[in-house]
Assembly symmetry: C2
Homo-oligomer: 499 residues x 2
């Protein structure tokens, strides 16, 4: 028996198994393809990689929609083959990034919660082919997702053709970890019946009309392995400021003892903050977030975290092994949801989430740039930061106060690109300190941000700018001819520092 066939428990579907070469024929030049994958986990691999190989010799271009970023350098391989005309809603590939910034690939950077509705209600074109990785197909034909849910259920529902990749590298124990809920199309939409991070409101798999499944291929390429970044002095200081802030909020009665559900962006700062929880007095922590990382499972192991809801898991090999080998221990403590649910404004506001995301830069009035280096060059995309920031009970952004050895100040007079307006930002943190902006007008925010968050080497220049701006007046004072001069100077001289 072919390796993987036993995972297709709906026998009638065995006849759909075919070679990847045959399967990619369903993807025509000009097609809109919806791919599984979120945060570098759970992407379909065999099909897009074969498509990239094919496109090298047979020029074709597709529009590629995903959950979020893809592992296995799939975006890069497709881009190298010049196979991408359009891409949404998020990417994080270094070579695709270059093509985007050169204007070669049209990149539509979108809130992750919104893509499904935008396609469902025709603000974006229909999905022609859905390519979705699966752990298994159940007896009744349900597609069991892998390490991420992303937009898989939505793409399957919307597509003309569905290609399933049975992923032999995924542990079958994951079956049961997903909670698939797809909102009805308007005007028949109903309230989402989720009132706690741990609620289950859907099914363990994706229901699909079997006649829509055009092909099933078998995949043996594993997900990309993630290494947890080591904390450094700055990230540890950021974590310390945050934990101290949370402790005080609980002490004065503004936050519940377990803080309420937490969301956190991915990466070293998130890891440091979660490591900080490890050594804190907090208990019964909950996550309602996008990506579950090693640190999530460490907090579960140590008994600090009672539940974690996410859209995907990106784990180190070591952690993945531990989790899969002992899955019974975690099964009732985690759930993976479609991003339309994990990032849903209705839920985020209802639960009162504390959102912790990383800024590229923020300005003295509290506006945040998450995406564009010096206002023009796309880094990755807005991802879920807007979904969570806009609806969080507390919207927090963190960043190191300087970058490139001090040539860049992350605290600037005016952000060169604004993803999150000051209306939405409650707290800013750098290794220097924390600025609690709640209830403050812009002029008050400026003093606090400069004093608490800016690096000492930039404080005087920021204060000088602010004072001269105030002399000109306004709710949000600026010297217009200078507002972006720090960024312009950096581009011209390689440093924001005054001469």
């Amino acid at each position: 028996m072919i390796n993987g066939l036993e995972r297709i428990r709906c026998a009638a579907l065995h006849e759909k198994v075919m070679s990847v070469e045959k399967a990619i024929a369903f993807i025509q030049d000009g097609a809109v393809v919806g791919l599984s994958g979120f945060g570098g986990a759970g992407e379909a691999k065999t099909v897009p990689l074969a498509l990239a190989d094919y496109a090298q010799n047979h020029p074709m271009k597709i529009t590629l929609a995903t959950g979020a970023s893809l592992g296995n350098r799939i975006d890069g391989r497709l881009n190298d083959a010049h196979a991408l005309a359009r891409r949404y809603p998020y990417q994080a590939d270094p070579t695709l990034r270059k093509a985007i910034n050169n204007g070669e690939v049209m990149y539509i950077d979108q809130h992750l919660s919104e893509l499904a509705d935008n396609i469902r209600h025709k603000n974006l074109p229909k999905i022609n082919v859905a390519v979705v990785a699966a752990t298994a197909i159940t007896e009744d034909g349900q597609i069991i997702p892998t390490g991420s849910c992303g937009n898989s259920a939505n793409f399957i529902e919307m597509a003309d053709h569905v290609i399933i990749e049975i992923d032999n590298t995924i542990s079958p124990v994951l079956e049961g970890a997903h909670d698939i809920y797809v909102p009805k199309a308007r005007p028949n939409r109903e309230p989402i019946p989720l009132t706690e991070a741990g609620d289950r409101i859907g099914t363990i798999g994706i229901h699909v009309d079997p006649s829509k499944i055009s092909a099933i291929v078998l995949n043996d390429i594993p997900d990309t392995s993630f290494k947890m970044d080591e904390a450094d002095n700055e990230t540890l200081a950021i974590a310390k400021h945050l934990i101290h802030f949370f402790e005080n909020e609980v002490a004065v009665g503004r936050l519940p003892e377990n803080l309420g559900p937490l969301q956190s962006g991915v990466g070293s700062i998130a890891n440091a903050v979660f490591a900080g929880f490890e050594h804190s007095n907090f208990h019964d922590l909950e996550m309602y977030s996008e990506v579950l990382q090693d640190c999530t499972f460490q907090l579960i192991d140590s008994g600090k975290m009672k539940f974690a809801s996410g859209c995907s898991m990106t784990l180190s090999d070591e952690c993945a092994k531990r989790v899969m080998n002992n899955f019974e221990r975690y099964k009732d403590k985690i759930v993976l949801r479609p991003q339309e649910l994990s990032n849903n404004p209705e839920i985020i506001r209802r639960l009162g989430i504390i959102a912790i995301n990383t800024a590229l830069e923020f300005d003295i009035y509290g506006n945040v740039n998450s995406t564009h280096v010096t206002g023009t060059k796309m880094m990755n995309g807005i991802g879920g930061s807007g979904d969570f920031t806009r609806h969080a009970h507390l919207a927090i952004f963190v960043t190191k106060s300087i970058a490139k050895g001090g040539a860049i100040s992350s605290v600037v007079p005016m952000v060169s690109h604004c993803d999150h307006a000051e209306h939405d930002i409650d707290v800013l943190v750098t290794e220097q300190g924390l600025a609690d902006l709640r209830g403050l007008a812009p002029r008050e925010r400026a003093l606090k941000i400069i004093e608490n968050c800016a690096h000492p080497s930039y404080k005087a220049d920021l204060l000088n700018y602010f004072e001269r701006a105030c002399a000109l007046g306004g709710q949000t004072p600026h010297v217009l001819r200078e507002a972006l001069s720090w960024h312009a100077q950096f581009e011209e001289t390689g440093s924001m520092k005054s001469a």
Copy 2:
């Protein structure tokens, strides 16, 4: 019997009736006061005006929270008396605006849907005194709001002292027009059970512990009267472009025949668009919006609109008279809700609202400035524009392409202040034309916005900027030294026009 006493049908409360001079003693120096009022309708009047008179001779400062803007120049009168230390979440008073921009009053410009939660969950200080206008008090002590709901129910729930102003100028027929629903505090919050614009999910009045009512005063000052702005050639052209766009969306099957629930900002452009509906083939229209204006009732009169949900009514004297004298005709076609409901993200996303708001300016990439003139001076505030834009099925901004006789282009290289990021904007409209931005990358957006929306006298300069920016590269190309130079030049020379 004192005029108005018959409106206090809960006899036990008659003993709370007192002079306004006595009532304002409950408002201490430094107090946080929550006032009824939204969009210039339904504000308490007697108490704040007496407080302004008192503060002229007895220096004191309060923090003033409201629903939104106030009529009867109350913000101006309190500001003239130097009685305002802090103000949120919205204002539209010319003299207060000056004080805000001079840095004399700290103005916290907030999304209108968020204020109640921010106070309830202690991101903002507790309300000490709620001052709320009422049409009547029922036998069981319910407070019946007036021409707006605003944050009245929330303020009453949260305050230590409640002062009720029985408004003798409000027609008693309004009793029954309100639908008061207050979400539970987290973690006990439940889904809001509203699935259609016309649903009623609450009570007709505000429930309050009678012992919290410290004073009842009688008011004979009427709401400010609103005059409907006359349409001009530009607003008519904007309306025409929009109606044509809607017709086409229905024809190609992207919108339902009645478009789905509509939200519209206040003012002349909204009036022109709604007048445009009058002469269109659309029928069974619905509103789920903030302010119901004359044009709403005209569409109900002509049978074009089947239901309108709002937070307040701001009508001309003539229209108000017609509506109140024939209220039976409208009673099952309108409802007034607290702003936490009228502007709620959960509902806006669920219903799939089409949001039409007015921009101060937008840039070639689709970022929108709703609040700050030349990036620094506050006009009014973000109001509900963020609540609706961020969650709408279609987020539309309209503006005239030029202002001040052509000295200002409303289409600029980079917005001088960003309230709504390009991620959230679907359609931009000026009298020149309409730019449908759905599914477009920033570089594509720029060409469409310049071509369709910019005024002919600025098109060449915008194109020239865009082309030079593209030569520098980036997802969102800019010439950083020039990006805000149009605004800077306007401040220096009085015109954005190139020499």
